[in-house]
Amino acid sequence: MTKEWRPRIVAFFCNWCTYTAADLAGVSRMKYASNVRVIRLMCSGRVDPQFVLDALTRGADGVLIGGCHPGDCHYAEGNYKMLRRFQLLKRLLRDMGIEEERVRLEWISAAEGDKVKAVINEMTDQLLKVGPLGLPQRFEEWDKEVTRLEEEIRGGDAAGAGCACAAKLQKPAAASKSEVAHV
Amino acid sequence: MEMTRTIKYEADRVKGFGEEVMSVPGCEKLKDCIQCGTCSGVCPLSIYMDFTPRQVIEMTRFDFKNEVLGSKTIWLCASCYACSVECPQQIGITDIMYELKQRAIKEKVYPRGLPTPVLAQEFTKMVHDYGRVNEILLATKMYMKTNPLAAMGMSTLGLGMIKTGRFSMIQEKIQGRADLARMLETVDEGK
């Protein structure tokens, strides 16, 4: 492939503020980087940390979460709930060695089409600097490594004991759910 | 009776001039002008200008380079920044005037007999050579170059300066003259 690498961003936008702001950016014909894919949720409070981890595991280089400004949530305080969850999620990502720039939470009101544009462009620039995350490839490599290890063990010793850890590496998202979701 | 053609044809424009000016730091917002005339309304010197500041903006935007650079207007700007802070479109009009002055000097197209560009250049030379400026010497030089007669008219003032102990014929010089000159040269090298 000769095409230059562009980061993939999955965005979770709340229906009332940020999704509407993105619509406004469209109506106003603002131009921004095309590598963002928006998934509409009713509220940023619906964003399960699993969604973020799942997106990263499936090949996203960054995840953007957009909600209403504090105090402006259509559902009173879903955005605060997201904020609390986000703090924990960030800690988890740090522990996993995933750069901070990759996951971003932004308050964008329905009137701030220009902010949608600015945030997406800024995040794209930052991710271009940070480079690809490539989790699927990394998992593949780990899988290979583990398989090789297993074979080695099976070849050298009789019974293999490495499968549990392989399973865990393959599905970090599922494993982490109970750690982060309960906030 | 001789008639002057005032219509402007496309050929009268120096295409790209406006864009060039707009690319200079501080001059970007030139294109936002709505021609309201606030700049002229607040400019204390607009009453002596051949074109009002607003007209200079419009002429620059539409590439009437020769007319703009040859105007007296840009040399009447005293850099008081009233236009810049009052402009409803926040256009850096003072900076645009500076840019136009620079171009007029570079291309030596400023109106003859105007002392302002002469003063600017003498000033710059003095800074380059000595690092500091002696206002009295500077004024003398400027008058000598532009209007020696006027210099005579200033003798009362000179006398006053001497009497009040503010007159000095000694040119102050900085130690790091060579350094400063070197620094200024790098700007030309970088161009």
Binding site: - | V24, L76, A78, S79, V127, N134
Partner: protein
């Protein structure tokens, strides 16, 4: 409190009375000023008209020297210096092409420009760091009955004033009121004095000085107080020409620091008041050596 002091060419030349009054007044208020070693001219309004890049380079040499001197802030009493040094920082900050030009120049002589060191005007320091109350406490000879037209001129408030209102500055008003003086209502406080045009195009330049002078008189001022050596020069030096062209509008113009010194009990001579072409009348409250009459009362 200690600041780097950038006097600028005027304060060493025709505007020396500004320095003569500023230094003792600041010392009296506990402010130490350390003159920048081997500073050069800021470039004023003239350099920007010739070459913006060079103007920034020349001005930034002073900022680099200040950085090297290690003090946290620079005091620039001349309005043009204050504006140019601040403007240079803004340009370096906002435009990469200016920054790289400055960096290149710095490297060529082993200097470094790394931080935007705050460049402040004495009015700012007096109002924000010293405070009106501290000034009031030092007043021994209140300027009772003195009516002052506070004249700020253009370049300290426009376009970068951060310490005062751009359209209606009051910092000097507050300081002078603390000295006991009365301010006349003076809507021309930020109008242009004509700048260097008084010399280059006197018809245009002097008209602006004339308007300021005549309005100060009309509004009942005894004296105009200013913060800029060029403003003072323009308002003080051309009375003959102004009278010939329009009408006589003789009124003394002084640096606000000169008034501060008088109120602190310093003498008119110490404050360099004799350097004005239109002398300021001695004050009833002036210290001993100025008015013998009050000297007796004071002792």
């Amino acid at each position: 409190m200690k600041y780097s002091y950038y006097p600028g060419c005027s304060l060493k030349g025709q505007g020396r009375a500004y320095e003569e009054s500023l230094l003792p007044v600041m010392r009296h208020l506990g402010i130490e000023l350390e003159e920048l070693p081997d500073w050069n001219c800021c470039g004023a309004t003239a350099y920007m008209a010739v070459d913006e890049g060079k103007a920034c380079v020349a001005a930034s040499r002073n900022l680099a020297i200040a950085e090297k001197a290690g003090l946290q802030q620079v005091l620039a009493p001349c309005s043009a210096c204050y504006l140019v040094l601040n403007k240079t920082q803004h340009l370096i900050h906002d435009y990469p092409q200016i920054k790289s030009a400055v960096d290149r120049a710095m490297t060529s002589v082993n200097l470094k420009y790394s931080t935007d060191i705050p460049v402040r005007h004495p009015l700012d320091v007096l109002i924000s760091d010293v405070g009106v109350d501290a000034i009031k406490q030092k007043v021994t000879h209140p300027l009772k009955g003195l009516k002052v037209a506070p004249y700020y001129g253009c370049q300290i408030v426009r376009p970068y004033a951060t310490f005062d209102d751009q359209f209606n500055p009051t910092s000097m008003d507050r300081i002078l009121e603390a000295l006991g003086a009365t301010m006349v209502q003076f809507p021309l406080k930020t109008k242009c004095c004509g700048g260097s045009l008084t010399g280059t195009l006197p018809e245009a330049g002097l008209r602006l000085s004339y308007i300021i002078l005549k309005e100060a008189i009309k509004r009942g001022a005894d004296v105009i107080a200013t913060v800029c050596p060029l403003c003072l020069f323009n308002l003080d030096s051309f009375h003959g020409k102004i009278a010939a062209k329009w009408e006589s509008a003789r009124i003394p113009t002084v640096y606000f620091t000169q008034l501060m010194g008088l109120a602190f009990g310093m003498t008119a001579k110490q404050m360099g008041l004799q350097r004005g072409l239109v002398p300021m009348k001695p004050l009833a409250s002036a210290p001993a050596c100025c008015a013998a009459r009050t000297a007796a009362a004071a002792t």
